[in-house]
C-alpha cells in the first residue's frame, strides 16, 4: 500500500549545501534507495546518488540515514514509523562531491599502503595447499563489500581529519588481519607495521565499525583485537619477545 513520506535530503557540494524537504510516495516493500530514485525521477532531476547493485553487495549506496551510516538499498521503508521524517545525507567522514555522493578515494589510497600477500618462495604455481580450518578465520574478512561504512563511522577519522594520514581504518585492519592470519603469507613485520604505520594503536575499540557492518563481520572482536594482541606479542610482552628469540618463532 502506497503512503506519503517526508524526506530531508542534503543537497549541495563542497562549497555549500543544506537539507531540503521533499514529500514522496513510498510503496510496500520498498527501500530508501527506491524512494530516493523516485525523488530523482519526479522532483529533483539533478540529485546525485551513487548506486549499483541494489542488493547489498556492491557497497555503492552508502550514506547516512537518520544519522546512521547505512546502505540505502538495505534500509527498508517499513523500518520507519508512520509520519517519521527521514533524513538522508552523504557520508560525513569524507569530502562531499555533490548531494549524496562523497569522495571515498581516501580508502583507495589506504588500500595501496597495505603490503600485499607474499607467497612462499619454494612453492610454485598450483603447489600451495591449505587446510580449511587454517583459512576459515580469514574467510570472514573476505565478505567485506567495501562500502566503507566502518570507515565512515570510525571517530578516529570522522572526528579528526588530521588523523587520516596516520590511520588506515577498520576496513584495512581486517585486511591486515586476514593476511597476518593467512597460513602461507610470508611477509614479516605485519604486526609491527600495523601498529607503527597503519595506526592500529589509535583504535580504542568502541566497536562502531562492527555495529554498522552490513555483512556482519565481527571487525573488532575477530580482526582488530586479535591484531592488537599480536602487536602486544611482538612489542609489549617481554616474555613473548624472549621466547621468539630463543625458540626462533615468528616475531
Amino acid at each position: 500500500m502506497a503512503r506519503k513520506v517526508n524526506l530531508r535530503i542534503w543537497r549541495g557540494d563542497s562549497n555549500s549545501g543544506a537539507l531540503q524537504n521533499v514529500e514522496v510516495e513510498a510503496n510496500e516493500g520498498e527501500v530508501v534507495l527506491d524512494v530516493i530514485h523516485r525523488v530523482q525521477a519526479t522532483q529533483m532531476g539533478d540529485l546525485a546518488v551513487r548506486w549499483n547493485c541494489k542488493a547489498g553487495k556492491c557497497g555503492s549506496c552508502s550514506m547516512e540515514i537518520n544519522g546512521k551510516p547505512r546502505l540505502a538499498c538495505m534500509t527498508r521503508m517499513s523500518s520507519f514509523e508512520e509520519g517519521e521524517e527521514i533524513t538522508v545525507t552523504p557520508l560525513r567522514a569524507f569530502p562531499v562531491i555533490k548531494d549524496l555522493v562523497a569522495d571515498v578515494s581516501f580508502n583507495y589510497k589506504k588500500a595501496m599502503e597495505i603490503p600485499a600477500y607474499e607467497h612462499p618462495a619454494d612453492l610454485g604455481p598450483g603447489e600451495a595447499r591449505m587446510e580449511q580450518i587454517d583459512v576459515e578465520r580469514s574467510q570472514e574478512f573476505r565478505k567485506c563489500i567495501e562500502c566503507f561504512l566502518c570507515q565512515d563511522t570510525c571517530h578516529v577519522i570522522r572526528d579528526h581529519e588530521e588523523n587520516k594520514k596516520s590511520f588506515a581504518g577498520p576496513r584495512f585492519f581486517i585486511r591486515i588481519a586476514e593476511l597476518d592470519m593467512h597460513p602461507l603469507d610470508m611477509l614479516k613485520n605485519r604486526k609491527r607495521t600495523a601498529q607503527e604505520e597503519h595506526g592500529l594503536g589509535m583504535c580504542n575499540i568502541t566497536k562502531c565499525c562492527t555495529e554498522v557492518c552490513p555483512e556482519h563481520i565481527r571487525i573488532t572482536d575477530n580482526a582488530i583485537i586479535p591484531m592488537k594482541e599480536r602487536v602486544v606479542d611482538v612489542k609489549y610482552d617481554p616474555a613473548r619477545w624472549l621466547g621468539s628469540k630463543i625458540r626462533r618463532r615468528e616475531g
Binding site: T89, R92, H155, G199, P226
Partner: protein, 267 residues
C-alpha cells in the same frame, strides 16, 4: 573546524542527525560504573566487615595484611604491614589493583568507559567533543597493552576466590558439609569471574588465537573454538561478574556487621 565540521565535508551544523535514544546506553553505563566505583572505593577504605564464619568478601581476598583477622588469612600468609606512612592500610587496597587493572584494561570495558565517561565517541556517528585524539598510542593509554598481565593475575585471583567459595561450605565450627546462602553467593561470584576471564579476548588469543596453523595444533584449535563461543558473551559476563562480586561483598558485609543473618540450608 575539524571532524564532521571540516570545510570539505557536507555542511551540516548538527553533531549528529541520529533520532534514536543514542544517549541512553552511555548514560546507563556511566550510572552503573560510577556507582560501582563509589561503592568499591568506600569498601576498599572501610577495612572492616569482610569476614564472618568462613565467608570472606571478594574485595578482601586474599587477605595479605597483618591487620587481617586470622581466619581470613590463607595459610598464615599475611606479610604486608597494617600501616603505610603511619596511616592504616586497608587489606583491600593491597590487592584491588589487580582486579581493577583487569577490568580497566578489558577490551569490553574500554569500549564502555571510552563511550560513557570520555565520550570518545559517546555513540556511533555522534561527534565527540575532543579537539585532539591519539588513541592508545601514548602514555597513559598505551598501558592498556598490559591487559594480559592483569589477565594472568586475574586467574590467580579466580583460584583464590574459588578456594574461598569452597571454604564457605564449612559450618561455624569449621566442619565440612554445611551450606548457606553465603556459600551460594560466593560460588556464583567465583563462577561468573571464571566465565568472565575465560571469555576474555586475551584468553582467546593465548589459547590459540595467535597461531597461524590451527591444523598443526588440533587441541588448541578446539579450545580456541570453545573460548571463541564464550567470547561472544564477554560483555554479558563482564556485567554479571561485576554485579556478582559487588553483591557478594554486600552480602558478606551485611552478615559481618550483623545486619543480616546468613541462613544455613544445613549445618
Amino acid at each position: 573546524m575539524s571532524g564532521v565540521f571540516s570545510p570539505s565535508r557536507a555542511q551540516i551544523k548538527e553533531r549528529t542527525l541520529r533520532t534514536d535514544k543514542w544517549w541512553l546506553q552511555p548514560l546507563a553505563t556511566f550510572g552503573v560504573l560510577f556507582s560501582f566505583v563509589i561503592y568499591a572505593t568506600f569498601r576498599a577504605f572501610e577495612g572492616d566487615y569482610y569476614y564472618k564464619d568462613h565467608l570472606i568478601s571478594p574485595f578482601y581476598s586474599p587477605c595479605l595484611s597483618e591487620a587481617c583477622v586470622d581466619e581470613a588469612v590463607i595459610g598464615g600468609f599475611a606479610p604486608i604491614s597494617a600501616q603505610i606512612f603511619n596511616f592504616p592500610l586497608s587489606p583491600a587496597l593491597i590487592i584491588l589493583i589487580f582486579p581493577l587493572g583487569f577490568r580497566m584494561t578489558c577490551y569490553y570495558y574500554r569500549k564502555a568507559y571510552y563511550r560513557a565517561f570520555w565520550m570518545s565517541p559517546p555513540a556511533c556517528a555522534v561527534a565527540e567533543p575532543h579537539k585532539k585524539y591519539t588513541g592508545e598510542t601514548r602514555q597513559p593509554l598505551i598501558l592498556q597493552n598490559a591487559h594480559r598481565w592483569f589477565f594472568y593475575a586475574g586467574l590467580i585471583f579466580n583460584v583464590i576466590l574459588t578456594y574461598d567459595a569452597i571454604i564457605s561450605f564449612k559450618n561455624k565450627d569449621g566442619e565440612w558439609g554445611a551450606m548457606s546462602v553465603g556459600s551460594l553467593v560466593l560460588v556464583f561470584s567465583a563462577a561468573m569471574l571464571w566465565m568472565y576471564s575465560l571469555s576474555c579476548h586475551t584468553c582467546r588469543h593465548t589459547i590459540g588465537g595467535r597461531l597461524k596453523h590451527f591444523s598443526k595444533h588440533p587441541i588448541r584449535y578446539k579450545a580456541w573454538t570453545t573460548i571463541s563461543r564464550l567470547n561472544h558473551s564477554h560483555a554479558l559476563f563482564a556485567w554479571i561478574s561485576l554485579f556478582a562480586v559487588a553483591f557478594a561483598d554486600i552480602y558478606v558485609r551485611q552478615v559481618a556487621s550483623g545486619a543480616w543473618t546468613n541462613f544455613y540450608f544445613f549445618e
